[in-house]
């Protein structure tokens, strides 16, 4: 028995060496991009969307010859949307030889990733972790709108609507809501009259008073989560003065809120987004077609689209750096890679042909993304 066991162990060891060797030989030719996201569990639909779309972008780039012949390689680790898993994943990615990262898919793990990656100075660009703090260190960037920056994008949109008066309905004891509201107000054209009503967690059960205040606003901006929004809309069904609701990513999923019958709401419901999953033209359309052909429509979402953009944006920045005479290859250290990418992104690099947003994407020195927001119509007004 002992003999048998020792043979088995010996075989395993040899196999392990071979595997290590084979991965070594493969390693030396690729630029390695690492990623941690929920590939299983409740949030798996986001993680899989990101992993699939990023892989798709990597495959496309490699087919076209990679970065002057150097191929890209992607490794996605599963964190089950649990921040305690991130440290292991990160260590494993580092020992694999990760040079660049897409960070984490969801916010809590991403905050953990931020701290870890700071020490090694690993560049990351998260497709979807939207908390402002995710990009607080100089090595972190976002492809999605940061929470509060949605206010800027929303204000830019509202400024184009030619409205003379709008309503804002926000939650005064929620950072997410007040953050967006403050940025929104700061960036709104001065010609627009604002009527504001707010609530707190404690007063979130009845919006009669707030509806009375906002009754005459045709357009109401609601930087809040969908549960109170659904209640407001249900209570304000009979208000013919209100025509349109406009929300941010907190509205994501409102149509499936429990017990909320969205078709009963006569008003138009819209939200700010950076990706239109029903796009019929442009880069977004090409992405949707290719993605669904490869992975099906189940995991198609804005997270994936954003990840696809991350890979192309990073690739574009590397390509530009090479054109400018920098050396980028499989042996470049993660920290050097980080400095090269930072110099590009902070030095006016523009990513064109994005699937999310419209047209070009830029970054501020703080790592915030700067791109045009789209308006997603969740529901048209009932006629």
């Amino acid at each position: 028995m002992k003999k048998f066991l020792s043979i088995v162990l010996a075989v395993l060891m040899v196999a392990g060496c071979c595997a290590a060797l084979s991965s070594c030989s493969k390693d030396s030719e690729t630029i390695k991009i690492g990623l941690s996201g929920p590939l299983t569990g409740d949030a798996a639909v986001y993680g899989l969307g990101v992993a699939n779309a990023a892989q798709m972008a990597v495959d496309e780039i490699n087919e076209k010859g990679g970065l002057n012949g150097i191929k890209l390689e992607l490794k996605a680790m599963d964190d089950v949307n649990d921040k305690s898993k991130v440290q292991n994943n990160y260590a494993e990615l580092i020992s694999w030889g990760m040079q660049i990262s897409l960070g984490c898919v969801t916010t809590q793990p991403a905050l953990e990733f931020k701290t870890l990656s700071k020490e090694d100075n690993v560049f990351f660009m998260t497709p979807s972790a939207s908390a402002d703090a995710v990009r607080a260190e100089s090595n972190g960037y976002q492809m999605c709108f940061a929470d509060a920056k949605q206010g800027v994008a929303a204000a830019n949109y509202v400024n184009t609507l030619n409205l003379s008066k709008i309503g804002i309905f926000y939650q005064s004891d929620l950072d997410y809501s007040t953050g967006i509201r403050n940025e929104f107000k700061a960036n709104l054209s001065t010609g627009i009259t604002v009527v504001e009503a707010s609530f707190t967690t404690q007063t979130a059960s009845n919006f009669e008073t707030q509806i009375a205040q906002l009754r005459e606003c045709e357009f109401i901006f609601m930087p809040i989560y969908y549960t109170p929004a659904a209640l407001f809309m249900t209570q304000a069904k009979a208000e013919t003065g209100i025509k349109t609701y406009y929300g941010c990513d907190g509205f994501d999923g409102i149509e499936s809120a429990k017990g909320f019958t969205i078709s009963e709401i006569p008003q138009k419901i819209t939200m700010l987004t950076h990706f239109n999953s029903a796009a019929t033209e442009g880069a977004a359309k090409t992405f949707i077609d290719n993605y669904t052909a490869k992975y099906g429509a189940d995991t198609l979402n804005q997270f994936g689209a954003s990840a696809y953009d991350c890979v192309y944006a990073i690739f574009g920045a590397l390509k530009k750096a090479v054109e400018e005479g920098k050396t980028v290859d499989a042996s470049t250290s993660a920290s050097d890679m980080c400095e090269i990418l930072k110099a590009q992104l902070n030095g006016g690099y523009e990513y064109t042909g994005a699937v999310t947003g419209t047209g070009t994407v830029k970054w501020t020195a703080e790592g915030f993304v700067n791109k045009e927001a789209l308006v997603h119509v969740i529901k048209e007004a009932n006629s």
Partner: protein
């Protein structure tokens, strides 16, 4: 005009607070205990209505079922949680009441889940319009129900035998017992009335805002308790006055954007001021303590 609208909305939410506050104040007056689980009886009433609506899609039977269910629940809570503690320290009873409150909230969350339900069938929307002034149907219904409940209770307490027994028990429990009043039965009746009113309050709340979660009664319960204290705890007209006053203050504060984030702070500050000026509450009786 905006101010008038705020006052009207305040009367509407104040009416609901008043009905909840009556439950608090009656139980306090008669059993001399603070039933902090009262707010959660409202929540249970809400879920009882929600469940009935799934079976028969009619609001009135749903309300009836909720009232019956809450009355049974209220009597059971009194019988099994509070009665064994009668005569023990007020602190023990208070802690038990808080325990019952957590129990009910957790049970509701286990049974119905954490996501809020929206029983829109209960909703009464629409309003009468007089020029710029709009009076919501729900406001009128709330005020009508409050007035009816208030008058019915007054008549009950003044002119019926159990009602007068209640007054007797609240004045002096020992003496009432010696005079042949069954205090346990009277206390049970008080809980039954309070719980029935909680079910009515649940209906009034969901009629205006159909959002039902396991914390439905928590904040209104605390507000109503505040209202009962403002009005003078133990006094039924006091609870009514306190409820309406608190509702109007809340609504007016909410309608002024600068003050809106501080609504709760303002409400509880009013409580402090009133307690400083009139420690027994607006309509409370000041009793001289014998030394």
């Amino acid at each position: 005009m905006d101010f008038l609208t705020a006052i009207l909305n305040g009367l509407s939410s104040g009416g609901t607070y008043a009905i909840i506050a009556i439950g608090y104040t009656m139980v306090y007056g008669i059993a001399k205990m603070l039933n902090f689980a009262h707010g959660d009886i409202i929540m249970v009433g809400g879920y009882a209505m929600f469940t009935t609506l799934l079976l028969v899609n009619q609001p009135i039977p749903a309300l009836a079922v909720a009232i019956v269910f809450c009355v049974i629940l209220g009597i059971c809570v009194e019988r099994f949680a509070y009665r064994p503690l009668r005569g023990s320290s007020p602190l023990a009873v208070l802690i038990t009441a808080i325990g019952v409150s957590s129990l009910l909230q957790s049970l509701a969350q286990i049974v119905f889940g954490a996501a809020p339900k929206m029983p829109t069938r209960l909703q009464i929307s629409g309003a009468w319009t007089f020029g710029e002034l709009r009076i919501a149907y729900s406001t009128v219904v709330t005020l009508a129900v409050t007035v009816v409940v208030m008058s019915a209770l007054t008549v009950f307490v003044k002119y019926t035998k159990p009602g007068r027994a209640m007054v007797a028990v609240s004045e002096d429990r020992g003496a009432a017992q010696l005079m042949g009043v069954n205090t346990n039965a009277i206390i049970a009746i008080t809980f039954a009335i309070g719980s029935a009113l909680a079910a009515v309050a649940a209906y009034l709340m969901l009629m205006k805002a159909p959002s039902l979660s396991n914390t439905l009664g928590a904040m209104p319960g605390i507000k109503a308790f505040t209202a009962a204290v403002i009005g003078g705890i133990g006094s039924i007209p006091g609870a009514m006055l306190g409820g309406i006053l608190l509702g109007v203050i809340e609504s007016v504060a909410l309608s002024i954007p600068v003050l809106a984030p501080f609504t709760e702070a303002i409400e509880f500050a009013v409580l402090i001021v009133i307690l400083l000026v009139k420690p027994a509450g607006l309509l409370g009786k000041t009793r001289r303590e014998k030394v």
